[in-house]
């Protein structure tokens, strides 16, 4: 374990933070497939919450439900409630665009737009109506610094984002997400397409970001969850088997299945 793990211990005490997300009996179906079953989870502010579990257990589905991106699949139907800052977000009257402005998302494969680095960052602010060149310039610098990629790209802001390496692209995507100053950042296996060095940088970044943001991160890499998260939820077949402090989950899980899964991978 790296020194970062120790950092984590420093933060994991803060469990009595405010709750940002709260799900009650959340169920989700893709057509007939029951992908999420009675999920009850509270997610806390300015913590890193990791979601782990085997492939197909519903991790991606769950975090995509938190910003209602899952609705892009037309066959999706849900029941139960999710409250975000005490507002029920699954209501059809709730504007998804508002929600997604406050909840950023980083995807598994880095997905910058085929535009310049500058345009990638300003995309969000612009669609939300910010036009002033000065303000945009400032946002660009701040976001890129926030994602600790500023020094690498500051001289090539007008170049196409596809010229960056995979790890840089992913940090650019994080910066893009920071540009609209969300409260929560969802990350779906943000490092699984990256090499170990880039992965490390992102992990460090996540540690940094949680000072300002609440972060929910899906990962299939158990060590990663252990290294960077405060809480961990273990999903299996669409259910939450166990949800607790990361320490607890990895040292004294209360459910056999959790133990099996974790040890099976650590082997």
């Amino acid at each position: 374990m790296t020194t970062l793990t120790e950092d984590k211990h420093a933060y994991s005490g803060s469990t009595n933070n405010r709750v940002v997300y709260d799900t009650k009996d959340l169920n989700l179906w893709y057509g007939q497939t029951h992908a999420l079953k009675d999920i009850n989870l509270s997610i806390y502010e300015k913590e890193v919450t990791a979601i782990i579990g085997p492939s197909g257990c519903g991790k991606s589905t769950f975090i995509k439900t938190l910003n209602r991106m899952v609705e892009l699949v037309p066959t999706v139907s849900t029941s139960g409630t999710i409250t975000y800052n005490d507002k029920s977000i699954l209501d059809k009257t709730f504007k998804v665009e508002d929600l997604r402005t406050q909840v950023g998302m980083v995807f598994q494969k880095p997905n910058p737009f085929p535009k310049s680095i500058y345009d990638n960052i300003t995309y969000g602010p612009k669609i939300h109506g910010i036009r002033s060149k000065k303000v945009l310039d400032e946002i660009v610098e701040r976001s890129l610094r926030g994602a600790s990629i500023w020094d690498e790209v500051k001289d090539r802001l007008k170049e196409n984002a596809y010229g960056l390496s995979g790890g840089q692209q992913q940090r650019l995507c994080i910066a893009r997400c920071l540009a609209i100053e969300p409260e929560v950042i969802l990350m779906d296996e943000p490092t699984s397409a990256l090499d170990p060095k880039s992965t490390l940088r992102i992990e460090e970044l996540v540690q940094e970001l949680k000072k300002e943001y609440s972060i929910i991160i899906v990962t299939h890499n158990m060590q990663q969850a252990a290294r960077i998260s405060d809480k961990t939820a273990f999903f299996l077949n669409g259910e939450v088997v166990e949800y607790d402090k990361t320490d607890t989950i990895f040292t004294t899980p209360s459910d056999n299945r959790t133990e099996d899964y974790i040890s099976g991978r650590f082997g």
Partner: protein, 294 residues
């Protein structure tokens, strides 16, 4: 007991392999046949027409005297037609494609429109001519002007643009629009700022192919009643006009009046083919140059 006699098989093998090798050559020849015809066609046209192409021919007015005749009027007519075809097909074609790919719910209406588009693609161009004659020339009373011709050709090539745009939109990876939605962008913002720009090279390629089809179309124009002899250059979309393929058609027909008209037709064909070649080259360049790596 053995049914398959290996020695017999071995004996017959020579002739089977020979047959394969011979037919391979036959197939190659068949493939080259089409190309040979193409070569002859181009050779014929060029040898007949190239001597007639000069500055006056390209920029001059039509004339009954072969050595004075120019095709600027037809070039302008064709250009004006395209001035209508390009925006009309792009707006309708891309709009339809966006609707079909991004807005329409999978269902009866969507598959009805899809079937309809694929059937339209198979309707003979002469029938579009009659449609144009009835609707644009007569009912809307535009007369046999550029506007009527352009709209007729637009409808004719519309399926090509729609299909090309649909394919281009489908090729835009979903993770790009997801990223946009993830930032709180609305659907239209995502379409306008992410999907369309990414699909643009494909759309433009399709539009160019559609335009090159429209440029060569003759049959619908013959139905619209394009004047056989017209000197003044068209100056707008409400003017009567002639177009390159119509000029070829009339000169071919009138070769019995004046032998040299056949050469003028050939020369005009060269101009038309060069134009098409340039357009297609541009399409290829766009396709290769702007192909995105996602």
């Amino acid at each position: 007991m053995k049914y398959v006699d290996q020695t017999l098989v071995h004996k017959r093998m020579n002739s089977r392999v020979l047959k394969n090798n011979i037919l391979k050559q036959v197939f190659l020849i068949a493939t080259l046949f089409g190309l040979a015809v193409l070569a002859i066609l181009i050779f014929r046209v060029v040898t007949q027409g190239i001597a007639w192409i000069d500055w006056n021919f390209l920029t001059g007015k039509l004339s009954t005297f072969p050595e004075k005749a120019g095709i600027m009027g037809a070039i302008l007519g064709t250009s004006y037609l395209m001035l209508i075809v390009i925006p009309v097909t792009l707006i309708i074609g891309v709009g339809t494609a966006i609707y079909m790919e991004l807005y329409a719910k999978k269902g009866k209406l969507q598959s009805f429109i899809a079937t309809n588009i694929s059937n339209l693609a198979g309707v003979p161009s002469i029938v579009y001519g009659l449609l144009g004659l009835t609707i644009f020339v007569r009912v809307m009373d535009f007369g046999n002007v550029v506007l009527a011709g352009g709209l007729t050709l637009s409808l004719l090539v519309l399926p090509i643009v729609i299909v090309a745009a649909q394919e281009a939109i489908r090729a835009v990876p979903g993770h790009l629009s997801e990223a946009s939605y993830g930032m709180g962008a609305t659907k239209w913002q995502t379409v306008k700022k992410i999907i369309l720009p990414a699909a643009l090279p494909g759309i433009i390629t399709g539009a160019i192919l559609a335009v090159s089809r429209a440029i060569g179309e003759t049959a619908p124009l013959t139905v619209l009643g394009i004047p056989a002899f017209l000197l003044p250059f068209p100056e707008g979309i409400f003017d009567t006009f002639t177009a390159l393929p119509m000029q070829i058609y009339y000169w071919t027909l009138d070769a019995s009046l004046v032998d040299e008209y056949a050469y003028l037709a050939a020369a005009t064909i060269i101009v038309l083919l060069v134009l098409l070649f340039i357009l297609n080259a541009i399409a290829v360049i766009i396709r290769n140059k702007f192909q995105q790596r996602y």
